[in-house]
Symmetry: C2
Subunit: 302 residues, 2 copies
């Protein structure tokens, strides 16, 4: 997994730099308790307001709250037998374009392993997914994004796409707003019901599909003309993105509560600029309202 996320990070950065014309800032950091990460950020680019492509490969002893949290999903973990050594490798991507007609995208894939005293795995699993967050709905974009993910899933298991699409709709949901973060995609966690090599092959397929799923959408929308009002609506939607990440996202919460976590890498997911307006309600049947209606009720895009 370490080699794979490294090479995927390189490929994605190269492609995004070609589109944006600006180079990523590359930051390699070491974790005191074990491991390292490479955070690549492009800020104030020509196309992207903020784009981050991070990998991390970390190990050490799992903090007790983390063990407690995992216990319910992994019966083989007995907190009283801890602390447990762990190993985790993953890639995280978030891209926020300037143009309000171009959607924000998120992708994350990770491998997690908890080890016995002799270093052999006590428990392991894969998790991750990818989802799309437009400020203006283009149905053909949502369809293309979902279709690309479905093709990747279908090569491995016919149940993956329907199951993980549903999981994504449930996970990326702002309970307090009663609306989804965006038009969804796929999401899964604790995947360990097949041999690790088979699941790894599936995860690689998903990772390799990222550029296919997103780049055509950016290329379609980056030259679309937009008004100051459309930019303002995008800023309001970005506020919602922050609400999800800071209030509901398990990964962010886990990070903020983990000693030694690299806050700047966690917060690379937040848009550069956003806006909270009191009682901003789009006009009935406007394009803004059309988006909100779709977020209230998940759609089957393929």
């Amino acid at each position: 997994m370490e080699q794979y996320v490294k090479s995927l990070q390189e490929r994605i950065i190269k492609e995004i730099e070609l589109i944006d014309g600006k180079k990523f800032y590359i930051d390699r950091w070491e974790r005191e308790q074990g491991g390292y990460g490479i955070s690549c950020i492009l800020q104030n680019g020509n196309v992207f307001e903020k784009a981050g492509v991070n990998i991390s490969v970390v190990s050490g002893d799992l903090p007790i709250p983390a063990v407690q949290e995992m216990k319910s999903r992994h019966k083989e973990i007995d907190p009283s037998k801890g602390p447990f050594p762990f190993f985790a490798a993953g890639i995280s991507i978030v891209m926020h374009p300037h143009n309000p007609h171009a959607p924000t995208v998120h992708m994350n894939y990770r491998y997690f392993e908890i080890e016995k005293e002799d270093g052999s795995p006590l428990s392991w699993w894969f998790g991750g997914g990818s989802d799309l967050t437009p400020s203006y709905l283009y149905e053909e974009d949502a369809v293309h994004f979902h279709k690309t993910l479905k093709d990747a899933c279908d090569k491995h298991d016919p149940n993956y796409y329907p199951d993980f699409k549903k999981w994504c709709d449930e996970y990326f949901y702002l309970k307090h707003r009663k609306e989804a973060r965006g038009v969804g995609g796929i999401f899964f966690d604790d995947l360990d019901n097949k041999p690790a090599e088979e699941i790894f092959a599936f995860v690689k397929q998903c990772g390799d599909s990222f550029l296919l799923s997103y780049i055509p959408l950016v290329k379609r929308r980056i030259n679309t003309k937009f008004t100051p009002e459309e930019k303002e609506w995008q800023q309001i939607r970005r506020g919602r993105y922050v609400e999800f990440n800071l209030v509901w996202d398990r990964g962010t919460k886990f990070g903020l509560n983990t000693p030694g976590a690299r806050i700047e890498s966690i917060f690379m997911s937040l848009p550069l600029t956003e806006r909270w307006e009191y009682m901003h309600i789009p006009d009935k049947n406007s394009r803004e309202d059309k988006l909100v209606q779709v977020l209230k009720q998940p759609n089957n895009w393929v």
Copy 2:
């Protein structure tokens, strides 16, 4: 308390409108489960980017998670005997000026009562406080703010100011950043160790001090010239404000998890615009750095 918060809201709004020149938008709302609120918002004013003065007077049955949370602090509450009828009345203020040299202020005072079946109180307490969040440090502003609060406290109990100043420093703290939200003020909760009338008199003194503590600071700073870089620094600090409110603030969390809570009134506390930059670290000994240093280590302002 209901009459007091209503009249305080009116006085504060009148004074802020005089300074800003723009009128508050006044929104009266009813709560389905019992009670009402009045949310007053001034957005995109001449002086204030966003200013909110809300009151709420609500009652109903306390949700179980709320009872569970209160149980540890109020031994007289036995969750198995619930649900409990409750009554709460409070005022909440947050003001974010445009000018980066003028500080953001927050104030909240509330009375909470849990009732027996016959309507008599099983338990009651007051809570609240007020704190100041500058983007640029003016020591004389922090001193004036704290001095005004100390004067109000000292009229009622010599321990109030030192105790509640410390509590404020501990409460308005971003653990993941290891920094305070601002230069503090006072904060207290579960105050019930004197007759209710005495504590109510103290709370009124604090509420009445709000205009004295804040208005002189705004008047001093609203005409200070500022650069685009200073405005950008303010936007970054506003991102931190959002981080505190969405990640750590108990009141916000409680609200987001309460069915029927009015999300727009809760989020009136968030600044209109903000910014998250990757790895923004102020130059050593710059004015921006000077603020950050003060936030790392609470100061005794009086």
